[in-house]
């Protein structure tokens, strides 16, 4: 049995419609080639259900059965893993570099000021009666104390910067969690039928990518298309409900921490939250080391000063005031009267036993924060050196995961990225198919014209 002409006409029309739809998808892809998170889409053509005839089947044209995103969830997982680690080490590295800067230039800082402090006392050993030399001792000591306080101030500012980052992170996370629930709702609604909510899914995937910069998450997709997100077993999104995170001061010493609404710390092995915690740990360690160093200088110098005599033969007073790196200063009594600087072990103006003893302090292993104890100079050098080594290691990891992220991103782009040449090729193919289908319709039209208008009646 021959197919009726109208059936052929319908076949042509189905092709016109299908390729028009395909061209629309191509146009969509081209339009979004620069859109962050966009996944290229492909139409799936299928032959329409044929008409059984004798003999065989009679084709009835083409239809679009699916417009799907070209996406690989394995690659997504890999990218998110790399995003988390990269964000963690990137944040930590930038902050450690800031902390290194806070410790002063490599040829200056506390190390040099400590050296000058001892040199001041060295000069005092040769001129203990000289008020100018005594003033120089006070000036050098003031610079050292100021250097300690300045470094602690820089650490405080760096810590304040991290505090702000934590608060910003919590706001950003909550905003994204809200957006995920909105998109969950849209996707659930859209996909109740047979349609794919491709663009909504792209937006949601981008949000999940961005969330993975903060922590490692468990993302579970439900049959309805919604996703649940949890971190460390704590739900952050359940279908259409978001559980906002909060900033809580916790730990010892306390620092701002991003916690779930249930009070669970959301730090995981990857992500910026881990970077925040690591930066706080480094700042605390540096502050503790500097405090120990300053406290050692204060107690060692003061114990010597108070066992001696000043230029006027009076019993020695404390040279330094304060108890740690944040409070160390030259004592008010000494600062206002250089004669109160204690150089003598006996009440004689030319005696320099105490200043010699303070000079000798630079060779004594009195700094307790190292194992075994070290000299004060070794102590500050170790602090700088350890920070440098730690920073080097973190920068290396940051670069490693940065490269890993780049590679994973390239792999994902190879699957879901738009290639203009490819789209233009598809466009030509669809255009030609459309033209051919139009030609079929014209031919059928001519055939109908022949039958209707030109056959003899």
């Amino acid at each position: 049995m021959l197919p009726p002409l109208f059936a052929i006409l319908n076949t042509g029309v189905s092709s016109l419609q299908a390729h028009q739809g395909a061209l629309a998808t191509t146009s969509h892809n081209i339009s979004n080639s620069s859109t962050e998170g966009y996944t290229r889409q492909r139409v799936k053509f299928e032959a329409q259900r044929p008409l059984p005839v004798t003999p065989g089947q009679l084709g009835l044209g083409v239809q679009i059965t699916d417009i799907r995103r070209m996406r690989d969830s394995f690659l997504d997982g890999n990218v998110r893993l790399q995003i988390g680690q990269s964000a963690r080490y990137d944040f930590t590295a930038k902050n450690l570099v800031t902390l290194e800067t806070a410790m002063g230039p490599i040829n200056g800082g506390i190390n040099k000021d400590l050296s000058n402090f001892f040199n001041g006392f060295q000069t005092l050993t040769t001129s203990p009666e000289d008020i100018g030399v005594r003033q120089n001792v006070i000036d050098n000591a003031s610079i050292l104390a100021s250097s300690f306080r300045g470094t602690i101030g820089s650490l405080d500012r760096a810590q304040g910067g991290v505090d702000l980052s934590v608060a910003d992170a919590a706001r950003d996370i909550n905003s994204m969690l809200d957006q995920v629930t909105i998109l969950n709702r849209e996707i659930q609604k859209f996909e109740l039928g047979t349609d794919n909510a491709n663009d909504f899914r792209d937006q949601r995937d981008l949000l999940v990518d961005n969330l993975s910069a903060y922590f490692d998450m468990t993302v579970t997709e439900q049959p309805s298309g919604v996703i649940d997100i949890s971190v460390n077993g704590e739900p952050l999104v359940t279908a259409l409900t978001a559980f906002p995170v909060q900033v809580v001061s916790a730990g010892a010493p306390p620092h701002p921490q991003v916690q779930s609404s249930g009070g669970i710390n959301l730090v995981t092995s990857g992500g910026k939250l881990r970077g925040f915690a690591e930066t706080y740990t480094t700042i605390d360690g540096l502050r503790s080391s500097l405090d120990d160093l300053a406290a050692t200088i204060i107690s060692e110098v003061n114990s010597r000063a108070t066992s001696g005599f000043d230029l006027n033969g009076n019993a020695g007073v404390n040279f330094f005031s304060g108890t740690d790196a944040a409070t160390i200063d030259v004592s008010a009594a000494v600062r206002t009267d250089p004669a109160r600087v204690v150089a003598a072990g006996v009440a004689a103006p030319g005696d320099n036993q105490i200043s010699l003893s303070i000079v000798a302090l630079q060779d004594l292993a009195v700094y307790p924060s190292a194992s075994p104890n070290s000299t004060l100079g070794q102590g500050i050098r170790n602090i700088v050196s350890q920070l440098g080594s730690q920073t080097r290691g973190v920068i290396n990891l940051s670069e490693t995961y940065g490269n890993g992220l780049k590679l994973a991103g390239e792999q994902r782009q190879a699957v879901n990225g738009v290639n203009m040449d490819e789209e233009l090729s598809n466009m030509i193919a669809y255009q030609r198919a459309y033209e051919a289908a139009a030609r079929v319709v014209s031919v059928v039209d001519e055939m109908l014209d022949t039958i209707i208008n030109r056959m003899a009646v």
């Binding site: 080639s33 490599i106 050196s385 080097r392």
Partner: protein
């Protein structure tokens, strides 16, 4: 890594990190050239930076030790000068003693010689209270007090000399962890192993020797043999102190030279560790610039060809 498909984002934007990397490296090299330092932070080479910091600290300490040595040497030179002057005085006293012991001298001649000895005594007293930079060099650590004071009778004649100093030692670090004492005491009557003008252990008292000589000259002619022996002992004692001072000066000079050599070595090593090798850095910068230009060129060429170019 075989990618297969190359998306437009990858094609256009994939090169941007490479551009940034090359620019960043150029900036690092430019900073190294401008600052003269290969490293700006410890993380760039923790070991080299730690070593450089230690060497810098050692250099600073050697610098300070050299200053201490210069101060001690200057102090020692003033001491040497004072002791030398006293030696000359005592040699003149020896001549006077020999001359005055001659029985042919009239009482008037002897009185004149006694008057000269009295002046010599006052001169020695002045030398005994020599000050340098406001410090009385023979007073031990009582450096703000004149070392000796004359005891005079009603007619203004010096009848004795008291020591106002103490037994304090002035010392300073001349090499790391080592100190040297650089003063000599005017008298060791308060303690100490050596007194220049008065040494209780050696039985030396330059002032008393001169007072005795003066008084002997004023008195009836008598034998000067005891006084001559005392003066000779005093001169020997003083020249012994000069030798000690000379030895200290030599020791300090040798240490200063050693420190200068050590400083030079430390400075060279530090420079090798952290200073920028300008020639190498400029070459590296030129190479990076070529790489950057090549990357931009390649990027532009890759991106200028597309199917779009050939479609009507």
């Amino acid at each position: 890594m075989p990618v297969g498909r190359v998306s437009d984002q990858l094609r256009y934007l994939g090169l941007v990190p490479r551009y940034n990397s090359l620019l960043s490296r150029q900036l690092d090299v430019q900073t190294a050239i401008a600052s003269g330092q290969r490293y700006q932070r410890a993380d760039e080479d923790p070991l080299s930076v730690a070593l450089a910091q230690r060497f810098s600290e050692d250099t600073s300490r050697l610098d300070q030790n050299i200053k201490n040595i210069q101060e001690a040497q200057a102090f020692g030179r003033v001491t040497e000068s004072a002791v030398g002057n006293v030696v000359e005085v005592m040699q003149r006293a020896l001549e006077i003693a020999v001359s005055g012991g001659n029985g042919a001298k009239s009482s008037s001649d002897r009185a004149n010689l006694a008057a000269e000895v009295d002046q010599l005594l006052r001169g020695v007293l002045d030398q005994g209270s020599t000050a340098w930079h406001g410090r009385y060099i023979f007073s031990g650590t009582e450096t703000t007090t004149p070392s000796f004071a004359a005891v005079v009778n009603g007619s203004g004649q010096i009848t004795g000399v008291t020591y106002n100093g103490n037994a304090g030692i002035l010392s300073t670090e001349y090499t790391p962890q080592e100190t040297i004492s650089y003063n000599l005491l005017g008298s060791n009557e308060s303690g100490g192993s050596l007194g220049i003008f008065r040494d209780t252990g050696a039985g030396i008292d330059v002032f008393q020797t001169l007072i005795t000589l003066r008084d002997n000259l004023l008195a009836a002619p008598t034998s000067m043999s005891g006084t001559l022996a005392k003066i000779s002992d005093d001169i020997q004692h003083l020249t012994g102190a000069q030798a000690k001072l000379g030895g200290m000066q030599n020791r300090l000079s040798f240490s200063a030279l050693l420190h200068e050599d050590q400083k030079l070595a430390l400075t060279e090593t530090t420079s090798q560790l952290i200073d920028t090798d300008i020639a190498a850095a400029v070459t590296e910068l030129a190479a990076l610039r070529v790489s950057y230009e090549a990357a931009l060129n390649v990027g532009a060429r890759i991106n200028e060809v597309s199917l779009l170019t050939y479609l009507r």
